[in-house]
């Protein structure tokens, strides 16, 4: 109950805060300036509309979709690395606003009483603020006319008296207006309730639940697409925090006891548990006072200048009282590079402070009784020239190894990882529990290998990925591979299950190849690789040193030194494929059939096979808990043998 309230409260606060932020700083920060005034203005207008008492949610949602589609279209029109960062920010910020629209829709279905109360509070404030505005107008009028304020002398007193009477009259008028509105609303709500009661058959209930489930999926989709497509626009952790708020509101006990909420008044005690972190909560009226939609005590008049620079005065009530920090102007690089170091404060400048996390009550369940992924291996290639295995080198010895790098398997580097022990990634149930019951979306590569025709990518819920492609794939479905995805910035809760090896903080000798300069990484780059047996990453090189950690299942890896004469693919469809070999290791070794698209080119393949056979290589089968060091520039071919989950760490 309370967590739904918390979610909706924070959403309302966010929208108001965001709107005033856009008004004040949109031009100054330049975060969105490159998107042009029309789109920034459109976004600002939606934020404004959503912060009023009775927004047209349907229109706002369509407009936010318009903004999302305009920025998404830019992602295609530009090469990934050339896209001006403002478009990622615009996409993300529109997505967050849309999320709050969906939250209100969802909360209205779940807890109509609560949403109504919120709406009425806003409406009441809007009506009240009209009175404030009138008072201020009156005072300013008098000052403009050369009078003093308050007017002095006998005549002045008389004038004040008249004014006061006038004001009292106006105040009564306002009270009447509020009362009238209140009755209107109450009548409207009664009608709605009556209608709902009439429709409370089991079928309607099921429809309602279905609708809520759809809304939930849409909420998560909206934010996950912002994380996956737009890289979170500099707000990854914040987005994850609001998804966590949502997850708390959705958690099963909340869902199953709707009666409890209606019978019990708001739990005021727990709200006082953290008054210092949520000043706006303590300055607001206690919720119980408003449950009857009664007129609150008149608010203090606003300071004189507030009528000019805050067009929606009631935002002052919703905004925290803490003073605004001066707008800092971070450079674009700073915004980008800030991402990893932002762990401590995830809230972007346009968002109000998040409610503090509740102490974590549930004990971690015992996962040992849950089933693991199947260890079944349909095919195991032979290892011909095995890579050396050592337990775990010291930082110094590894640093010296880097000067004459060769591939190496480290057997004891990650044995302490939670992912291998208490938070077992080998259990589908555990992974589902960390992905909002599998609702979170992941990008999946469909097809045998990214160089094949018909290869594609799609973004699907994690639960669908597991069931369709991993735990019970039907035989006619092509392979699905969650590959080279920065899963851990999208799902920080899984990030806690692994530890970046210290070895990634060594400094390898500088690269000799100046043809493709690679920027130095400030932090190691983490990628997740989860797929069924038989996934293939074709022979390729990366511009980084790599520690490939095998967490679940087994993988075959074959490596060729950088100086090997590996034929590359050149440019395909305007995209350089220089880092990928023209050789298909699986086909040339006879492990895989020829992909259908290339069968015509059979001649010449024999020569290729000979050329390929002469190249020297090393190989291995990587077991769970083992780490393969792949030096920068080494060609590598990777093949999942069973269901396999690995993490790669790139550094330079």
């Amino acid at each position: 109950m309370q967590s739904t309230q918390e979610l909706v409260d924070y959403g309302n606060r966010y929208v108001c805060h965001y709107h005033s932020h856009l008004q004040k700083f949109a031009d100054a920060t330049g975060r969105l300036a490159g998107c042009g005034e029309p789109l920034v203005q459109l976004l600002t207008r939606q934020a404004h509309m959503l912060s009023t008492a009775r927004p047209d949610y349907d229109l706002a949602k369509r407009r936010l979709d318009d903004i999302l589609s305009a920025s998404y279209n830019k992602f295609y029109a530009y090469l990934y690395q050339e896209l001006p960062p403002c478009w990622r920010s615009l996409y993300t910020e529109a997505a967050i606003l849309k999320f709050w629209v969906l939250v209100i829709e969802w909360a209205r279905s779940q807890r109509p009483d609560m949403v109504r109360k919120k709406e009425w509070e806003r409406e009441e404030r809007e009506l009240e603020s009209q009175r404030e505005a009138e008072y201020i107008r009156e005072r300013e009028e008098s000052i403009r006319q050369g009078g003093e304020w308050p007017p002095q002398g006998y005549e002045g007193q008389l004038e004040m008296l008249e004014r006061r009477n006038g004001r009292r009259f106006k105040q009564r008028q306002l009270e009447d207006r509020i009362e009238q509105k209140r009755r209107e609303r109450q009548w409207q709500y009664e009608q709605e309730d009556k209608q709902r009661k009439d429709e409370q058959g089991p079928e309607q209930l099921q429809q309602k639940q279905q609708r809520e489930e759809q809304l939930l999926d849409e909420m998560i989709k909206t934010l996950d697409l912002a994380l996956i497509l737009a890289g979170g626009g500099g707000a990854q952790l914040f987005i994850n925090d609001i998804i966590a708020l949502l997850e708390k509101a959705v958690s099963p006990p909340t869902k199953n006891n709707p009666d409890l909420a209606n019978s019990k008044p708001e739990n005021e005690g727990s709200e006082q548990e953290h008054p210092q972190a949520a000043p706006e909560a303590s300055s607001a009226q206690p919720p119980s006072k408003r449950t009857k939609l009664s007129l609150p005590p008149p608010a203090k008049p606003l300071p004189a200048n507030s009528s000019t620079d805050t067009p929606i005065p009631f935002t002052n009530f919703d905004k925290p009282d803490i003073p605004q920090p001066p707008p800092t102007k971070p450079s674009r690089q700073a915004i980008q590079h800030n991402i990893p170091s932002r762990l401590s404060s995830s809230t972007p400048q346009y968002a109000p402070p998040l409610p503090p996390p509740h102490p974590n009550p549930p004990q971690p369940p015992n996962w040992s009784t849950h089933p693991s992924f199947s260890p079944y291996e349909p095919f195991t290639p032979p290892v011909t020239s095995p890579i050396q295995r050592i337990p775990s080198p010291s930082l110094e010895s590894f640093q010296s190894h880097l000067s004459t790098p060769r591939p190496l398997i480290l057997t004891g580097l990650v044995s302490h990882w939670p992912a291998l022990t208490t938070s077992p990634w080998s259990k589908p149930a555990y992974l589902l529990s960390r992905t909002f019951s599998g609702r979170r979306l992941v990008p999946v590569e469909i097809g045998r290998s990214y160089v094949d025709a018909g290869w594609s990518q799609k973004i699907i819920p994690f639960s669908e990925f597991l069931s369709e492609y991993i735990t019970s794939p039907s035989s006619d479905v092509s392979k699905g591979y969650l590959a080279q995805h920065q899963l851990f910035s999208q799902l920080p809760q899984l990030r806690n299950d692994i530890v970046v090896p210290d070895l990634c903080y060594t400094s390898p000798p500088p690269k000799v190849d100046d043809e493709h300069p690679v920027a130095e990484l400030e932090e190691p780059m983490l990628n997740a690789w989860l797929g069924p047996p038989g996934t293939i990453t074709p022979l390729h090189t990366d511009p980084y040193h790599n520690l490939l950690v095998q967490v679940v299942g087994r993988k075959y890896v074959r490596l060729y030194p950088p100086q090997s004469k590996v034929k590359t693919r050149g440019k395909e469809g305007g995209v350089s494929m220089d880092n990928t070999a023209a050789f298909d290791v699986g086909v040339l070794e006879g492990w895989d059939d020829q992909p259908p698209s290339e069968e015509e080119e059979e001649e010449g393949k024999n020569g290729e096979k000979e050329e390929f056979g002469r190249l020297e290589c090393v190989d291995c089968i990587l077991e769970p808990g083992e780490t393969l060091y792949i030096p920068e520039g080494w060609w590598h071919y990777v093949r999942g043998l069973s269901v396999s989950f690995s993490v790669s760490f790139w550094w330079n």
Binding site: P38, Q41, L42, R62, R63, A77, G574
Partner: protein, 324 residues
């Protein structure tokens, strides 16, 4: 002459000053009369605003609606001639066709680059110059341009742009005719019904069209980016068969981001594609039509007295001139 329009109205670009107020403007979902002016000559629909030109004043717009971005305002001030003819793709590339002071088409990475060049001397940016052809029509698509150019004897359709989207180029890039530099589209020369007289595409779309002197319509584009509406879109110009099996003769065509409007010789209006903003005038419920669909039969019902003189399309809008 009356101007009818439908579609996205987020910036009041379909509202010529009649009922503007503080309320968030909604889209228009059926063709609605916006303006009556007997001298209307043509319109230019931009994503956030619309310009209407009249015969008496062909160089400056008589009516403006919506929000004109600052960069466009600047261009119209600095160089009205460029403003009349420039084309801006969705990857921000800008081309200005030939004009009196520079006989060659010029290409800039973005409008701000062009604006800086217009203000300073020597030029801080060296634009790409295409000295070998005279552009008579220029149309941007999301990642490139098509142009109707007139090397004698016949006008040819040229295309150039991002090699990642070769289907929009309608030709195979090669070392001698690279994707990024203008080259003729072979499939659009020596057509059975005469040369191409009109080209159409949208600055944020991947769908392109060409109309011949003999009233045949060819369309092509990137099927992957239009899959929702034109799943069978070819990467080579193919004749569009509309109305009956033989295909009606086409008088005019207008291409939007994901919709297309076609006017036939017998004054019928047809359309296909996205209608999520009402850009085909098919109401709020119809989100898209994936087949060629007859639009706006109201004009026929008036005893055929009202004739549609021409069609235009913005990103997510459609416009018609109707007579009388």
């Amino acid at each position: 002459m009356a101007l009818y329009a439908t579609g996205l109205n987020a910036w009041n670009q379909l509202d010529f000053g009649r009922n503007q107020n503080d309320q968030e403007p909604d889209d228009i979902f059926t063709f609605t009369c916006l303006l009556k002016d007997k001298n209307i000559s043509h319109i230019r629909p931009f994503p956030s605003y619309t310009l209407v030109y009249t015969t008496s004043q062909p160089l400056t717009p008589t009516h403006t609606s919506g929000l004109v971005p600052k960069s466009h305002q600047k261009l119209s001030r600095y160089n009205p001639h460029h403003y009349l003819h420039f084309a801006e793709a969705y990857n921000d590339t800008v081309v200005i066709p030939n004009h009196p002071t520079s006989p060659h088409p010029l290409q800039y990475p973005s409008l701000p680059h062009l604006l800086t060049d217009l203000l300073s001397s020597p030029l801080p940016f060296q634009p790409i110059s295409y000295p070998f052809f005279q552009i008579s029509q220029l149309s941007p698509y999301a990642t490139g341009f098509i142009a109707l150019a007139t090397p004698f004897p016949d006008p040819q359709v040229y295309s150039w742009g991002d090699p990642r989207f070769t289907p929009c180029l309608a030709r195979h890039p090669s070392p001698t005719s690279q994707a990024e530099s203008p080259s003729p589209i072979p499939d659009l020369s020596s057509l059975p019904t005469g040369p191409v007289i009109k080209i159409s595409s949208c600055s944020s779309g991947y769908l392109l069209a060409a109309l011949t002197l003999g009233n045949d319509l060819y369309i092509w584009g990137h099927a992957g980016r239009c899959a929702e509406w034109f799943p069978d879109l070819s990467d080579r110009p193919e004749p569009a068969v509309i109305g009956d099996e033989a295909g009606k003769d086409i008088k005019d065509v207008a291409v939007g981001q994901a919709h297309i409007l076609v006017l036939t010789i017998d004054n019928e209006l047809w359309g296909r594609g996205d209608n999520s903003s009402g850009q085909l005038g098919l109401g709020k419920e119809t989100k898209a039509v994936k087949e060629w669909t007859r639009l706006r039969e109201v004009f026929d019902k008036n005893g055929g007295k009202q004739k549609i003189k021409g069609v235009w399309a913005g990103e997510r809008t459609s416009f018609l001139f109707v007579e009388p």
